[in-house]
Amino acid sequence: MSIAMILLALAVGCYAVAVLESWAVHGRLSLTRPATSALALLGREQIMPRTPDRLFFESGPVLLLVAGLLSVAVIPLAPGLIITDLAIGALFLNAALAYVLVALIMAGWGPNGAYGMIGGWRFLGQFIAYAMLIVMPITAVAMRAESLSTTQIVLSQAALWNVAYQPIGFVLFVIAAMGVAWLPPIDLPTGGGDLAGGVEAEYTGARLAVLRLARLVIIVALASATVTFYLGGWLGPWLPGWVWTALKTLAVAAGMLALGSRLPRLREAKYLELSWKLGITLALANIFLVGVIALVVPI
């Protein structure tokens, strides 16, 4: 039952994010556009590029979708409303997101085209930039909760949300999450001006629809992970818990999309440099600070 409810919520969330994204990209708010776009995609011809690595070409989008769905599995919508409440949920989320990388490499390599291939390998090239900044802030979050379970992490924020307890970690995590979901300004694998669609460039029709859906799922997963780790999950007054989770998730997603449309695409080298030199240092400092606070102040 809870699985069905969460999948329903996920579907609604994906649609809402699609509406927001098309608003941010095309400048027009249309509630029906994602539906018409998806239908139109289903009707389009599916073109197989010449001499593809067919296995990768076909399985890349599907693996991406699976990775997104698995990462959603450990996000609590409300107390008890979670697909699987693993004791090591936060680690599981990381593991699932690691396959976003694998899927993009496969989807980029499969079609045998320069733009897609560069896009896929680029995403791997940026790996350190986002992966470390996902893992290290989560470490600090788990330190405070003294658990890797996502439910425990939400409960640990009852007195004070992590966004106030460890703001450095929050900022780093949001930036890294945008990198994992290749949202602008870090949309390096697909950058329209650089790679003409990059990884997506050779996909058409239903395969493109799967790829786009998978990306939406990943955006929702990362936004809801941000909510779980830093914004107190379902905690909030007056409204039922699941409403709070949903509202916060949409707000985070909208914030990411708004940020993306206002910033120029980051230069690859700059992004990597900032993440290595500044990001990882800050993340280590964050872990240290949280450790000290957790030892000294009991909240």
């Binding site: 690595d53 990768f56 593991a95 690691a98 890797l148």
Partner: protein, 172 residues
């Protein structure tokens, strides 16, 4: 161990071996790397079936990234990474056959002679496992892990240095 668990364990075990074979059966470097990845993922899934949640998930996570990094190194350094040239990557077949055969016999001997006492009756809960692992890694085994990490780092840097061909301006 219940029948379902045993079946799952066998399934993932066979999958791991099958992907391991695919590594050598394909001509494509990238496919080879990804097959190795999924072989390791299957081993991670076996950990999960055996209720070692932390280790299983860790294995699944680390292998995804490690094998991807390996794939990009293969693409960078190897000719014909797509395997379109159908280049034969095997070599020293007789030696490998012998090594494989001896390894198989050794494994069978270990399996037959070890005094199996059946599965541990009460597996601690996943969070308890994580806690115990943490104490182990940050206690008794800390030195081993730290030195291993340092060695891997050194090896990575050294391997890259060796792989890059010397340039003319480097040699006086």
């Amino acid at each position: 161990m219940s029948l379902a668990t045993a079946l799952f364990l066998a399934f993932f075990g066979v999958a791991a071996i099958w992907f391991g074979i695919v590594v050598f059966r394909t001509h494509s470097m990238v496919r080879s790397a990804i097959a190795l990845l999924f072989s390791q993922t299957a081993i991670g899934a076996m950990f999960l079936v055996m209720q070692a949640e932390f280790l299983g998930v860790l294995q699944i996570m680390m292998m995804a990234t490690e094998m991807s990094v390996m794939a990009i190194f293969m693409v960078m350094f190897m000719m014909d990474p797509g395997g379109m040239g159908k280049m034969d990557m095997t070599h020293q077949k007789r030696l490998s056959l012998w090594a494989g055969g001896i390894g198989l016999v050794a494994a069978l001997v270990v399996i037959w002679t070890a005094g199996w006492q059946g599965p541990v009756p009460d597996v601690p809960g996943a969070d308890e496992q994580a806690r115990l692992l943490g104490r182990e890694i940050l206690g008794r085994s800390m030195f081993i892990f730290e030195s291993a990490a340092l060695m891997i780092l050194t090896a990575m840097i050294a391997a890259t240095m060796v792989a890059i061909a010397p340039q003319e301006e480097d040699t006086p």
